[in-house]
Symmetry: C2
Subunit: 155 residues, 2 copies
């Protein structure tokens, strides 16, 4: 199985970028993983237009066979163990490519919710779409340590 994390917009905060890279290196020990930054729509006053414009690049980055999971506030909340169990299920079902998508500052266009196979939320709290990147990466790494019974989970 391959996992791709699709980001909408570059990572602007240096400390987020460093943290994401730390976990990216660790996750790559377990499976084929890559992070792809998609263009963010800028200088537009209307959030609907921003979301629609971003959706064009987002949809172009997703193949028909990909299993697409949106990270969004309206998604389902999991424990770390449940999230790990979900990843195990994908591997058991021989899912070839799982793509996680983090939206831009204004969230997703309706087209993205229609395309998504699943939606997950990292918290009831709202995190910046920059911080979401780091929180997600730590969870992804944690999931593999759980699946491999490695000691990180309690640290």
């Amino acid at each position: 199985m391959k996992i791709t994390l699709l980001l909408t917009g570059k990572t602007t905060e240096k400390y987020i970028d460093e943290g994401v890279k730390t976990y990216e290196t660790r996750v790559k020990r377990y499976l084929s993983f890559e992070i792809v930054a998609l263009p963010e729509a800028r200088n537009l006053a209307n959030p609907d237009v921003i979301r629609s414009k971003e959706a064009i690049s987002q949809l172009a980055a997703i193949d028909n066979a990909d299993y697409l999971i949106l990270l969004c506030e309206r998604g389902k909340q999991h424990t770390s163990q449940q999230f790990a169990a979900n990843l195990q299920q994908f591997m058991n079902r021989s899912t070839k490519h799982v793509k996680f998508l983090i939206g831009g500052a204004y969230g997703f266009a309706p087209a993205m919710y229609e395309r998504a196979n699943e939606q997950i939320s990292l918290s009831s709290l709202t995190f910046s779409h920059q911080l979401v990147r780091l929180v997600f990466m730590e969870q992804l790494y944690r999931a593999f340590t759980i699946l491999h019974n490695e000691p990180y989970h309690h640290n």
Copy 2:
């Protein structure tokens, strides 16, 4: 009102430290705020002993009049708006000093749950006690932007 964030153990990851400092500077624009790192118990095999040892320093850092909020997995989950509304309530009630406490790698001793006035959870997911620092600081900053109707919340 004054807010103190009590941490158990130093911040070991440089990117977490940088992120925390970024938000610390921003939060200080709104009220008196400080971060205090308490000693972490080390080289002990028994988690109960670790938690009890850490509780001694934690209790010593809390005055009788302080309103103590533990950040822990069994705590109540809030939205960012609810968390901001809670802070506003403390200000309305003239609470003098609110202390948020992040535990060590093994969580809190029973004595800390007994002393706590409130327990809040940042997510159903488990975060490392290092990452919790950054996630909490972003929420604290976000709360003040919500209370002051500033534009950060949607970014």
